[in-house]
Symmetry: D3
Subunit: 239 residues, 6 copies
């Protein structure tokens, strides 16, 4: 029934490849099927002005798409002179998601910037970005730990975070929408969840018809299953 | 327990005043307590380029805050040269919310722009905006109907839409957060709902600790109550 | 003869409502007939870089129009990425006008920003803004005085300032042009005047035919009458 | 008494040199003492969108200063990404001034753009620009006439226009302020006048103390004398 | 002697991988050692306005660097609101280089955009971009030929183009500078050459000391050798 | 054979006029035939942030064209909100060229900005700019020396720098292309050279057909002749 022949609760093939960019303190090339995102985590010894002197650090994110990541070429945001609304919305979501699972006090007065650049887009770029961001972030924090940048017993990375989209496609709740499904779905929801199955962020949108509490719960159940599997893959990735 | 002395399921005083700007086809001055937003609906006989020739209309929204709507003055976005990330995120949410309940085919090849300008901000500006936007939109469509701009039996406005924020404040789920609560809440969720209690959009964010399915459902129950009341007020407003 | 049936030397109904925005140190909602402007005065403990360390303060102004303040919707300047030429010209005029009547030395090293946001425009938005700005500014200075921010005998506010437009409409000099008159007038002049009837700024423009010294003097006489009345209203407003 | 040793009613040496840029349809290098401005008039067979199809033309102006036209280098506006408030204000004044003396109907559906670029600034750049603009404009219209672009009997250029600044300097009304006077003057007024001594635009500003009607009239009398002389020079320039 | 232990006339390991992005009409992932660039060629049925109706096509290029392609993170150009000077300079060079070897008449009224995005930068990103661009372009033209978009006998791709940098490093002329060499070199020259050894573009810069004709010729000889080898690799890549 | 009737190795009439702008520490109005550029050198006691505290100075350049320097009016970059690609490319070239011949250590922690503004453009604006820049720079350094800003024996200006364009026009190598030749040339190369005939920068571009080593050498020989003559003129100019 799904264009991709997948079962309703079946994700696309997911891979998380670490250390793909040699300069970054952490990096991950994440694939959710044909959606490919390069994620880097960059450590900088500086802070946004409003945070200075509070003994805390910061984690933020930026998102971009290469012009030909999509079916037809989209205009380069650097050339058009600003980031579009969709870009801004997505990078704020990624930033909030990874920030929640970091102990900013333990991080110290430093900033980690997560850059998510979409090489190829086939639906779910924001959820792939968040899932890969955790791996890049974990590697960045490990790099720092090796260099004794934290107090001995600090637990800077407090939890896993992974994200997946679910939606109602032709009347059925399905997991991990690809572009063909996404563009036709009645409802589309992105769930950002922790290792323990709690919710960091939920964003559900009725693309056509408003949805019911029951449908929301059905999507949530799929998302819990999906993020559970993604977190297993994260654990395997960082070995 | 709440700084405002309200019960957990008690909203602030809400008022919806119509026809406040004489040129606009529809307008509403909405107050959620000390949060005051001026909403206008503007009809234009033009369309975004990518929609031309499809026999459909468009509804979009823009959001802004007057510089001194807030405790301390914020920089005017027109002067800084771009809309900030928060502004972009909010106006996209408002646009999606009102678009969902309009039959774009029946609207015809025209655009309605909803402008939401915050005069005074005390938490919940986006939910007040959406709730007032429905009134301005309803008046705009009524203005058009009077001028025979629709087919006789067209039902352009398909449903009500109202929005409210809920959150977990000091361990308790509460309805309609004001600024004092919002800045301290563990979890903050915005619900955009229809007259029949279905969900158009849900955005829940763990500000501090990830939240559980049970908490999400508790917030949803409050939101259903709150939006139900808001929709009653909308009905009274348009008389 | 005037579209509004007013006598040549008759102003529109003017109202000056104080304290309309709760966070601002001073505010005024000013109406010149159907022209409605919200003015706030914001105190900030900072200065433009080029003024630092001179023991003086600064008063500046910004101006904006809500997109649907006008007959047809105008594009939001925050969205178009810059303030238009008309906006820049007007806010510089407002800034100069209020700055002239403040003793910047007595103000001390602080900045007061006057924000004038047009809610509804029917001609004369800049003169209404200046007239309302005086009220907001007076309240802001009173707020500061209450908090002992000035030397005991300082006279920070040196005079009143009010402004009105005059023009030659169908051959007759008339006071306080509304939009219908303004768009048809031969000559249009804005006068910014003090309580003693002196001139702070005069800007006269021949919209169609150059005007003579006699016409300029006739407009000035009307303006003196108009600003005299406006200053009486200011005195009543601050009671 | 004046730093320049000039009499109160004495202008600086003025020169108007035509044909200084070979591509422009009209051009003038204007000097008011040490203030040097290069003015060009460019004819284009296009119109601003809002004027199309009305059988009328348009005259507009742009103004700029070379970075080292001033005592210390000012930032290049092309590099800072926008025209400053002063630039916008001045170019709008120049545009209005020259537009008033052109019969836009007779001009036909074309646009003439006046570019005023300040090579060296010593006060009065806007008045020098307007005075030189008339010469460049006259040459542009003559160029068009030679090519039979107007109806036989059309009188496209309806009048002269010239401008001069006057001010109250150390208590005395003086004509044509240079930078040393301008930065110290109590009152500064720019007058744009026609050949017949009528006023196209007057902009008077109290830099320190509000000024009286008598002072305004004294400045106007000086301005009439000054612009009279400038118009004589224009007549000599176009031979 | 070279930090990389290479011989003076020895290039880094070069690889040209085709078809790496599924949507683009042509693509190439090019590696010059640790410098990695993703190049796509996008066909669009549109033209820059100034070229319309001339029966000719256009080839242009854009260049970007992912923020963490470099040792320390560089600011994202989309976020800073404009492309920097270096970016502009490089993308213009790439555009000119590939445009020269395409028969724009035979291409027809279409535009091909070459996007070069640097994933990892270790010197020579512009030369790697040009070399990879040829492969992406060749594939794009082959894709078009398969779809009968050209006249039967059209030879749209007229030649190969490849580029390499050479420089004087510690007194010796060396081929294909990496970052360690580039940042220390006395002279740095980029050569863009054809299959027959002719020059499309040469850009030589004295980083420290001016260089002589003899040195230029020594660099040119190295470049001819290097581009010869690169063109062999291009031939192997397109099989 | 050349449109200008010049011999292949004949430059246009060149003039270098010093001291043309009274505020600048150094200035030169340079003419290469009908190409006229005003160059100023401005000394500032500040540095780009990344250079602070290294005991070295900086020399940089900006370039602009007045809107009507060209056959048809080009849009003012200050109005369009950014410098175009061609402008950026040229000003970077000028900056590198003059920086190379200044001893930045001896200059001390100061910045000299070279502004090149094209008054009239007839080909070769960048080479005229560089040639004139040397004169303005020399005068600026002399101005500083007079004020004892350098160590006694410092040799801040290490060499001359001049630039000229050469090209292959209708099969013949010619010196100093004007616009008529430039727009038709097969190959166009700009050479920036020192007093001793060495190369600071070479930029050769095949406008139509790739060019050979022999052609490059022929152009270089012409350029050496041309820059030799320009440097003689520089010596005469600074007397």
């Amino acid at each position: 029934m799904r264009p991709s022949q997948r079962q309703p609760d079946e994700m696309r093939a997911v891979s998380l490849e670490r250390g793909v960019v040699k300069y970054a303190e952490g990096s991950c090339f994440v694939k959710f099927g044909e959606t490919h995102v390069l994620v880097t985590a960059s450590l900088e010894e500086r802070l946004p002005p409003w945070l200075k002197g509070q003994g805390k650090g910061w984690v933020t994110a930026e998102y971009g798409m290469l012009p030909r990541a999509t079916h037809s070429r989209t205009r380069r945001e650097a050339a058009s002179g600003k980031q579009g609304g969709r870009t801004v919305e997505i990078q704020r979501l990624i930033g909030r998601s990874v920030r929640t699972i970091v102990d900013l006090q333990a991080l110290g007065e430093r900033q980690i910037t997560i850059d998510c650049d979409v090489i190829q887009a086939d639906g779910g770029t924001r959820t792939a970005s968040i899932t890969g961001a955790w791996v890049a972030l974990a590697d960045c924090l490990a790099w720092m730990k090796t260099r004794d940048m934290f107090k001995t017993d600090a637990k800077v990375l407090r939890d896993h975070v992974a994200a997946v989209s679910c939606g109602v496609f032709r009347g059925t709740a399905v997991l991990d929408l690809d572009y063909a499904e996404d563009s036709e779905a009645d409802t589309d929801a992105n769930f950002v969840m922790t290792g323990s199955g709690n919710i960091i962020e939920v964003q559900g949108t009725a693309e056509k018809e408003p949805f019911s509490e029951e449908q929301l719960l059905a999507l949530l159940a799929l998302a819990r299953k999906g993020t559970g599997k993604l977190i297993e893959l994260q654990k395997m990735a960082i070995g």
